[in-house]
């Protein structure tokens, strides 16, 4: 809304290049975003409003500059790549343009756009969680985590994280404490500045919203005629209460207004309900250390993903313990002849099922979501299925009669009950249903 930079306007950058304004793309609370020509490429320029740089614009600038120098921690981040010189008390930074097909979380909340499947929601959630895991692991925190930070592709769950200007080494103040309704209780109460554990809380809010299209702290209690700042402090701070809190129902869903909760919550697997109950339990509200760590999220989400099967009618069915079940939509019986038993749970062994790297022992951060095994069917006889070794190392397999076999990369273990095989630290057993 402020006076815009006009097309053709040139700005020099720190790395000795030049950004030439092409056109205005959009605006947020902190500034405008333009498409620019930059070193022969089209890029995005975030250009701050005078009031968009926090309390100390110089420190804010230094932080963005540090982030440019440091480089992006993970491809999910639309990371600052260069910063501009100052002009009339403001500056900007260069980042990649968001590709087509990505939408903001608010568009999902308002159902302007919808995910194509629950698997896609899980993928989006996994991308978000693993990106923050990487960020937190290098000692950074995001500090202003809210629904405006994400661009998500509803078709494949890919995620781009924007607004990385507030990202800072944990403990460094950026002058921004966060967006109302997305801040952790201790930040709302002014007890401390944002840090990695408050990021965790805000991230859980986003994950809950992606699945339930409901804000986790906004049940009956939030339907107040006038949200005064004091009330806001209570509902999101000192008296924050999960909409599904099993003990205190005073913030339970309103049957007319929070109908999504009744539709989604009972369908979530117990371990997903549990991780949300943990993330928004009274313990986690008051003690940031009690919040689920990113790895716990990854494990729950990966399990959830493995346990969803698609019925012929298109409905997604949540299976339990890899067992056959009946589609709640068309009443067809879903045939699941085999299941793959891990130490803690079993998943259906049907064509397309994947075993992820994080399901077979601890691993490097960027490998968490790498499929290591894939259930495939035979080209000339689709009724014959097996598990392909997608890694570059051989596996050890053992037949029911006790014979040992080596499974080379690319090779397939036939799906037969009783066979066990070991990938990294996990031994998986094929069972028939």
């Amino acid at each position: 809304m402020s006076e815009k930079l006009s097309s053709g306007y040139r700005i020099n950058t720190l790395l000795g290049k030049e950004a030439v304004i092409e056109k205005w793309l959009g605006e947020g609370g902190q500034g405008d975003v333009y498409a620019v020509q930059y070193g022969g490429e089209r890029k995005a320029l975030k250009w701050y409003k005078p009031c968009g740089m926090g309390k100390n614009p110089q420190a804010f600038y230094e932080n963005v500059k540090d982030n440019v120098m440091r480089g992006s921690p993970s491809p999910e981040f639309l990371w600052p790549q260069d910063v501009t010189e100052w002009k009339d008390g403001v500056f900007g930074y260069i980042m990649d343009l968001r590709p087509d097909g990505y939408y903001e979380v608010s568009d999902f909340m308002l159902t302007n756009v919808r995910f194509t499947s629950y698997k896609t929601i899980i993928d989006a959630a996994l991308h978000i969680v693993s990106a923050y895991r990487i960020l937190h692991n290098i000692g950074y925190s995001y500090q202003d985590l809210n629904d405006g930070n994400f661009f998500i592709n509803p078709k494949n769950g890919k995620v781009l994280i924007c607004d990385n200007d507030n990202v800072a080494p944990d403990g460094r103040k950026t002058g921004i404490i966060g967006k109302p309704r997305y801040m952790a209780p201790e930040i709302v109460m002014g007890l401390r500045d944002p840090y990695n554990l408050s990021d965790r809380f805000s991230m859980s809010i986003i994950l809950f919203i992606l699945f339930c299209l409901t804000h986790p702290l906004e049940g009956k209690r939030s339907l107040v005629p006038a949200m005064s700042p004091e009330l806001q402090e209570k509902l999101y701070g000192s008296e924050a209460l999960f909409i599904m809190d099993p003990e205190d129902r005073s913030n339970a869903p309103d049957p007319k207004i929070h109908r999504n909760m009744r539709a989604v919550w009972p369908c979530l697997p117990a371990y997903m309900q549990e991780i949300f109950l943990k993330a928004f339990g009274q313990d986690a509200m008051k003690n940031p250390n009690a919040r689920p760590a990113e790895l716990e999220w990854v494990n729950a989400l990966v399990r959830f993903r493995s346990e969803i099967e698609q019925c012929q009618c298109g409905n997604e069915i949540f299976t339990e313990d890899g067992a056959p079940c009946v589609c709640e939509c068309c009443r067809r019986k879903l045939s699941i002849p085999f299941r793959l038993r891990f130490q803690e749970y079993a998943i259906p062994g049907t064509p397309g099922s994947r075993i992820y790297r994080c399901q077979v022992g601890s691993c490097k951060l960027d490998e968490v979501l790498k499929p290591v095994g894939l259930v495939v069917s035979k080209k000339d006889d689709p009724s014959l299925i097996g598990i392909r070794n997608m890694t570059d190392k051989s596996w050890n397999a053992e037949t029911p009669s006790g014979k040992s076999k080596r499974v080379m990369p690319g090779e397939v273990i036939p799906m037969k009950a009783g066979i066990t095989f070991t990938i990294h630290d996990e031994t998986i057993k094929i069972e028939s249903n």
Partner: protein, 260 residues
Amino acid sequence: MPKIDELEATARRALHIFYVLDTSGSMTGTPVATLNRAMEETVEVLRKQAKSNADAELKIAVLEFNTGARWIQPNGPENMEDFIWEDLSAGGLTDVGAALSELDSKLSRKAFLNSMTGAYLPIIIFMSDGYATDNYQKALDEIRQNKWFARSTKIGFALGENPDMKMISEVVGNSEAVVRTQDLDLFARLIKFASVTASMMCSTSRTSNQDVTGADILKEAIDQGSAPESIVENVPVDVPESSADEKDSASDGWDADDWE
């Protein structure tokens, strides 16, 4: 799993924006024409924003005053997404008192503030270019007892050669939230910037736990509009601590019977 297509949009609290606009005889000609164009543009921007605002459901109501006061939306605030600006015309007296009484009567849960999904504190934008022709003091005393008025975010615009800065500052409650200008183009830009900033109040990341006030919003609008800071004058006004106000901060947030 439930069908993703059958889920409903996330519930949003309402954010009411009230425009209280002087259309007395002195606004005749260019002033009212500029006001109409400014409001048309403001509404256009707000409408676009409302469509993707997941933080608040924007609602708008316009109260014009001249000889008496009249709501343009007599049935209550309209959804910004469906709202279309209708041009106002100028003529008549400057019945500020009538406007305040009318506003007071509708700032209530039983009248205009009845959103099922709850609401944020309202925003009130007040504009005048002259001196009240009725006795507004009694109406002002009364509306100051209205919790919603007392706690709303208020912004004032004083136009023309001879606006009553004291009256406007009293209505707004703080002269730092009042802009005085004779430059109609500047007014048009500032009312747009202020409206947009105010409507994004719930969506903007904060630098501190302090509340955003009308003066903060205006300061931002002035920055954006590259207007001189001198258009905000310091007019000492005497705003009695509203009893409604004290009761609220002491008691359980809002008043108890509003809870269910």
